[in-house]
Symmetry: D2
Subunit: 142 residues, 4 copies
């Protein structure tokens, strides 16, 4: 469940036909992409646009990803990807996710991902202060 003590971003979109599989449900690998777009959306809403972050010479690499599949979704279904920050440190960030039906709010998939900041020359780096500050906005004091 999304915690009540911090911002949760939501973006809503339809399952694409190409994302379905021979079971006539959304193929499980696509939720990993939905998670990614959910955290992009979160950072955009936080004024910490990820595209700019990359252009400033850094990447948030994916260190770990986990998904739990509860209820399948289907072609053209309107779903909402919810995203919040689970943990934020100087070199690491962890997001959590819920994919819910946009209308019924039934939780379909949950998950999390962990990310490490590296510079474009490949070294693990501190997350740049200005970006970090905006991402921290609204989080409870650690």
């Amino acid at each position: 469940m999304a915690p009540a003590d911090r911002p949760v971003s939501e973006n809503t979109f339809r399952v694409r036909y190409a994302e379905t599989d021979a079971m006539a449900i959304t193929h499980h690998s696509n939720y990993i992409v939905y998670f990614e777009e959910a955290r992009s959306h979160y950072s955009r809403e936080a004024g910490a646009d990820y595209a700019e972050f990359e252009r400033s010479g850094y990447w948030l690499t994916v260190a770990e990803v986990h998904a739990r599949y509860i209820v399948p979704t289907h072609y053209a279904q309107l779903i909402t990807a919810r995203c919040w920050i689970e943990a934020l440190k100087s070199r690491m960030i962890m997001f959590s996710y819920e994919i819910v039906d946009a209308e019924t709010r039934q939780v379909c998939v949950t998950g999390y991902s962990k990310h490490v900041c590296i510079s474009h020359d490949g070294r693990v780096s501190k997350i740049p202060e200005s970006w970090l500050a905006r991402m921290k906005n609204g989080l409870p004091d650690p």
Copy 2:
């Protein structure tokens, strides 16, 4: 690390260009697909072809998936997907994976997935005995 007490299947293939992303590495969501093909390959080698399993009226739905990203891979890189059975029960199966460089054997990504057997009418089912027996082949006694 793949355990020594049970069969480990291996299939080797190249990273596709379409699987790379703007970081010029394999996008992390593709490993979830590599895992799936690795378990397909395992079952084929075990004489328990998954395509036939589906035709017999069952599905192995994905209940959970996890990946840990250690070293990135790149376009055209020859990689080997290693797969073994971590746990096998009457209604549940758990696979583990290692994606390694085909030549250096460096471990790039590890992961696991959990699956539940359902019949085509949507009910959680026992895994059919004949398929189960072939998948059990070579596993240590529980």
Copy 3:
């Protein structure tokens, strides 16, 4: 160029990170998926929802697809997929597409696709009359 004598549907969305490739642009195969979502959107706007069409026992199979790539697009870019009906016969439908930058309206990719109606038992069929009538809405007399 989209013709002035018929409806053109538009849906706007962002390029996903997973859709970029090692050239740091949107991989060309994704536009084929954008085309598909554009025609889904068109049919939904025409009151001829494709998901319902499928449930009624038919498929619109893809017989041919063509894309011309003019200007690359990038991660997080807001793009608009424009779609219109080029030709509509009792058993065949042809859509055309333009992918444009949502803000500048620069045309990035154009294309078309041809589709044949088949029933779920695999036979080429006439497009059901009720669906056809709604798709014909607004088209010039043939």
Copy 4:
């Protein structure tokens, strides 16, 4: 039909589960990826590895792609992607493709793609001579 007067490369692989769609066939967008891997394979066999080509400062951008869908393919089906050079000029290359069933040799999908050479600073360029020479190998005199 592949012409008899020039080399045709072949690579054989299985349709992945993630590539199927709710019609239980290979989603049509995946053939665009198969085409790409087929031309990668062609260039590798010609001793003109595309990964090296990129590292030398160039890209072969996709200007146009076309596919015609004749017979659907299915999960785990063994298919062969055949590829040959249709036309080769100083700045442009055109490939043709046939996706056939690996066993029956039935033609399932055909297509072509056109490519323009650009340098990494974005300018249309002549294809580097050494790469061009290897790709020309075996082609009929123009």
